[in-house]
């Protein structure tokens, strides 16, 4: 089956003119593609060009060089009229929401109004969305008088109501309190899982990235240094900067099913079945910290470890006091952190046969 990319970003470069003659490179040679229904997360530190990149994707800014292909059509240089047509297919939610100086209702209705939707339909659609985002009772309030969290919900609703094909979310959960951030997380989940929409979002919150991403792009100083699945990015960051930024994490996606006898969750990841203490069935994303995985040469007899897998050391990365081991157990790879001393004691080298073990309680659900 050929999967057509919804959006292709080819060699986007953006220069901002500075003083006479000189210019500052904000983005250089950024390329990636996003499939339909995928959630692509761009992570990177402040000032790395995330917002500029997203604005270019939302057709709010023009790239200096490069191409944007949307559903096999070049949308880099469109006429004003066509630009509006394509902008209407996308949504762009910004980090700091801005709303019109009018009621919540009118704000949410705005996108439909500019599209010339009939008033009766506008009313019913807006009412529906207001329920979804939990703004009931606030319809008649002026949107400017709301709190930051409520305002962000209005902003989300403004974009929700126009049912875009592509959601572009720019650090939407930054500046929100934990409660509002988790509410927002639920919306994103809804867009992703229930509505199967394509999302491109930026964040500097790693847990958010792990939770939502199908693929992650690391943007550092205007360059996309690495693109890959969350597992790839978090187990083998390419450069030191990425490693520091993302930290290390073993991330797996699998299907959970609770075992009736033990009451433990058996999560099937390709050929591997991991036992976890959480109780969430169905599609789950789990994470195991590299420090919580033990490694031995002979099969351990201790029963407290629910997860014992036989594997082979693929790679050893020496980091001074500690070592990163990449161990392949059937289809899956695990990143394990051990001290340099235990590496010596175990006489580990690439190709060694080992047993890895970790507790069911160390399997964290994302």
């Amino acid at each position: 089956m050929v999967i057509i990319n919804l959006l292709e970003v080819n060699n986007i470069t953006k220069l901002y003119p500075k003083e006479a003659g000189t210019s500052q490179t904000v983005l250089s040679d950024v390329s990636f593609s996003v499939k339909k229904g995928e959630c692509f997360v761009i992570i990177g530190p402040n000032g790395s060009g995330k917002t500029t990149l997203l604005k270019i994707l939302g057709l709010l800014e023009q790239p200096t060089k490069g191409k944007l292909i949307y559903q096999e059509r070049d949308i880099t240089n469109l006429s004003k009229k066509e630009k509006i047509i394509y902008r209407r297919k996308f949504s762009f939610v910004r980090q700091k929401p801005v709303v019109l100086n009018t009621t919540v209702f009118n704000n949410i209705a705005y996108g439909l109004k500019v599209r010339g939707v009939e008033w009766e339909q506008v009313v019913s659609q807006v009412r529906e969305i207001i329920d979804v985002v939990g703004l009931k009772g606030l319809e008649k309030k002026n949107a400017r008088s709301l709190s930051g969290g409520e305002m962000q919900r209005v902003a989300i609703a403004m974009n929700f109501v126009i049912a875009p094909e592509l959601y572009i979310l720019d650090e939407v959960s930054a500046n929100l309190d934990p409660q509002n951030a988790s509410l927002l997380g639920e919306f994103i989940d809804k867009i992703k899982k229930d509505m199967q929409k394509t999302i491109i979002m930026s964040t500097h919150d790693r847990t958010e990235a792990i939770k939502f991403a199908d693929r992650i792009g690391v943007l550092i100083e205007g360059r996309l240094t690495q693109i890959g699945s969350p597992n790839e990015i978090f187990t083998s960051p390419k450069d030191e900067f990425t490693a520091l930024f993302v930290g290390y994490e073993n991330i797996f996606t699998g299907i959970g099913k609770i075992d009736e006898k033990s009451g433990l969750n058996l999560i099937k990841i390709n050929d591997l079945i991991i036992t976890a203490s959480n109780q969430v069935e169905g599609n789950v994303k789990i994470c195991i910290r590299p420090e919580s995985i033990g490694i031995v040469k002979t099969p351990p007899k201790e029963v407290s470890y629910r997860n014992i897998f036989k594997g082979e050391v693929e790679d050893i990365r020496d980091l001074g006091n500690i070592c990163h081991l990449m161990v392949k157990c059937q289809s899956e790879k695990f990143l394990i952190t051990i001290t340099a001393l235990s590496k010596e004691n175990l006489k580990l080298k690439p190709g060694s046969e080992v047993f890895i073990n970790f507790k069911a309680t160390d399997v964290k659900l994302l």
Binding site: L60, I84, R87, V98, V114, M158
Partner: protein, 162 residues
Amino acid sequence: MGLIIFLLLSKSGPLGPLGLLYSTTAMVIAQFLLAVPIIAGTTKAAVESVDPALKETLMSLGSTESQLWWEMIKESKKSIIAGILVAFGQAISEVGAVMIVGGNIRWHTRTFTTSIVLQTRMGEFGMAIALGLILISMTFIINYALTHLQMGDGNYKSTRSK
């Protein structure tokens, strides 16, 4: 300003053949030309001072250029009304220009302000003061109405105080 229009409209001026000098039309033109720069200037400044992020948000929601401008004008309504008030204050108290181009002809191009000037000159201070008071109260009423419009709409205040 009054002098320029006078020269343009005078019999030997370029617009002389239209015969507009000393007519109400000439006065309207003069007042219009005096008020427009003030309103245009404040409106432009007001629209430009709207948060660029709001402009971007509306663009991303799919508004066309004209829809965007309309929304910008609505957003800066308060400053625009303030500009109109200033221009109105200027126009209603204008003496020089209307005197020059209107000629202060009785029953024809005599206004409150030109009349006050004339009455004062003739020593009819009582009449002048009476006219002045009427003019002032008219100005107050119109200012009040416009200010009310400026504050009232958008139910910002009413929702805030709830």
